[in-house]
Amino acid sequence: MSILEINNLSLSFGGVKALQDVSFRVPENTITTIIGPNGAGKTSLFNCISGFYKPQQGTIRYQGQVLSNGIKPPKRAALGLSRTFQNIALFRGMTVLDNIKLGAHVHMKSGLLSALAYFGPARREEMTVRKNVEQRIIDFLEIDHIRRQPVASLSYGLQKRVELARALAMQPKVLMLDEPVAGMNREEKEDMARFILDIREEWGITVLMVEHDMGMVMDISDHIAVLNFGQVITEGLPAEVQKNPEVIRAYLGNSDIDSLRKKLNPEGEAA
């Protein structure tokens, strides 16, 4: 059963066709990865799904419902589609804790008047959220030592982790991660891969990810879609995708297929 189905999606900016007739599905409770060279349209696809871009054609079906262009980003967030960004989009002036709490915003109800008074319903709600954030998310992602620090002072790897924490606080059904391990060192990558696997296993959240790190993609993905020049060239299990000659061509051009095989198949590398 697919939680997210993309059918014949097309998006163009003037003459530039960012996405052409893109179709693929994200099976529920899997880690599905979109790979493809730079400029293939991966982030554009994410932006269509989260509602920032309005595709000219095609449908996005989420839990069986069509998400029309009229459904704006905040509404999609409330429906359970949450995401992180390629270049971190945290609120830099706020502390880690406040950033994560912001993730829970859509699930909170207190209005302006109870906020002005604070004591009473607003405080009760804040405490529930705090407890939840502390016990479920901060513990899980091992960021308890930095909860009071402003985000701007953290290392890149930790910022990525805080962004993941914030996305989790939204209690998503589908978590979209745009390059979750880009620019990380090996240790940070391994941590992040472990978190992503746990999110799928323990939280039952479907993960849709864009990533360039082939080692990690092949290791943890259940399902891979390959995008090139705005088109899906193939989709399937990691092992199938790795062998597909079109994928190899998309990545390296026609020549030098051996080194490309190596790149797509990290097992072959000297460990």
Binding site: S50, F52, K72, P73, P74, K75, A77, A78, S82, R83, F85, A89, L90, F91, R92, G93, M94, D98, K101, L102, G103, A104, H105, V106, M108, S110, G111, L112, S114, A115, L116, A117, Y118, A122, R123, E125, E126, M127, R130, K131, E134, R166, M170
Partner: protein, 347 residues
């Protein structure tokens, strides 16, 4: 040195005052505020009231500009709406002051929402110009809608009253203005302990991620405008009761800039900064006048020389603060606190 502040509940961790020492200092401040009117002469009392009014209005503008990142040059206009509402109500109805002030706030909030509508589309300087237009428009209404506002002559009003008490003197007004400003600063502090305040800051820091988190930008921007203008409206209402005359010239454009400067000098996005900025902007020109008076016995020409210089010195002080303390007066306070956190062991 700060010790023994381990917390056992999340509630204690998120309290405004997290240690006994803080509570003690704040209690001391309240006592000073309470004793002040009994010790002060009429001039100091007058200044105290002015600072109180400025604190309310600056806190309001801080919510909008400092925390939500929406620059507004409409603050004086919103204060005018509040002041005229109070003046009209006091002349035409017999309502007591808590009701008129509340209505003044609500009226200003309604106008604020209207003025805030373009904020979804325009940001930064463009929004500043849009709010500037609104403030010119409001000024025009104050001056021309004679049947309600009394035109250029303005309105004179009766003193504030409640249960048959009339608040005629500055001394009595102090006991309305200062408690109200303490209350309203706390209310603002509360907002920033909850989801609403976080949403404001999120919009300021990065509006695209705010949207992805499910924050409806228009709704929260308008809410910020409404809240900010509510504060301005109440401050304007107090202004009306304090001076007991309201004219279109009571709320010139320069007043909007005054409040914007107070927010910036104090520290944007910092409630303490708003308070310090309001006090600075109100008191420094007065202090400069006192300085002139003090110099006169030695240099008989001081008033002639100094009076045109006051504005320049005032301006230079503001520029100096911006250069040397870009995070505002509040940052100085935070530095002092950091110093004493470890004192006397390391500094």
């Amino acid at each position: 040195m700060r010790i023994g502040d381990a917390k056992q509940s999340y509630g204690a961790d998120e309290a405004i005052w997290t240690s006994q020492t803080q509570k003690l200092w704040f209690g001391l401040l309240l006592v000073i505020l309470l004793v002040f009117p009994f010790m002060a002469d009429s001039y100091l009392l007058y200044l105290g009231c002015l600072v109180g009014i400025a604190v309310i209005s600056t806190t309001g503008l801080n919510i909008l500009t400092g925390f939500t990142g929406l620059i507004s040059l409409g603050q004086a206009g919103f204060m005018g709406v509040g002041a005229y509402t109070v003046a009209w109500l006091s002349l035409n109805t017999g309502l007591p002051f808590p009701v008129t002030l509340m209505l003044a706030g609500l009226m200003a909030a309604a106008v604020g929402i209207l003025v805030g509508l373009p904020s979804l589309r325009v940001k930064g300087l463009y929004l500043a110009i849009a709010t500037l237009a609104a403030s010119v428009f409001l000024h025009f209404i104050f001056a021309e809608w004679e049947s309600v506002t009394g035109g250029m002559g303005g309105l004179s009003l009766e003193p504030a009253h409640l249960f048959g008490w009339a608040f005629q003197s500055d001394f009595m007004m102090y006991f309305i203005i200062v408690p109200l400003s303490v209350l309203m600063v706390f209310a603002a502090r509360n907002v920033f302990r909850t989801r609403i305040g976080r949403a404001f800051i999120a919009i300021r820091d990065r509006d695209i991620s705010a949207e992805i988190l499910g924050i409806d930008l228009l709704r929260y921007k308008l809410m910020s405008f409404a809240l900010s203008s509510f504060y301005a409206g109440v401050a304007g209402g107090l202004f009306a009761y304090f001076f007991r005359v309201v004219t279109p010239e009571s709320f010139p454009l320069s007043m909007s800039i005054f409040y914007l400067a107070a927010v910036i000098v104090g520290g944007m996005g910092n409630l303490l900064g708003g308070i310090l900025g309001a006090a600075f902007m109100t008191l420094v020109p007065e202090a400069l006048k006192l300085l002139t008076a003090a110099l006169t016995p030695f240099y008989p020409n001081a008033p002639v020389f100094m009076s045109p210089m006051l504005e320049i010195i005032f301006g230079a002080l503001i520029v100096g603060f911006l250069i040397f303390e870009p995070h505002g007066l509040a940052e100085i306070w935070h530095r002092i606190r950091r110093f004493f956190r470890l004192w006397p062991f390391r500094n």
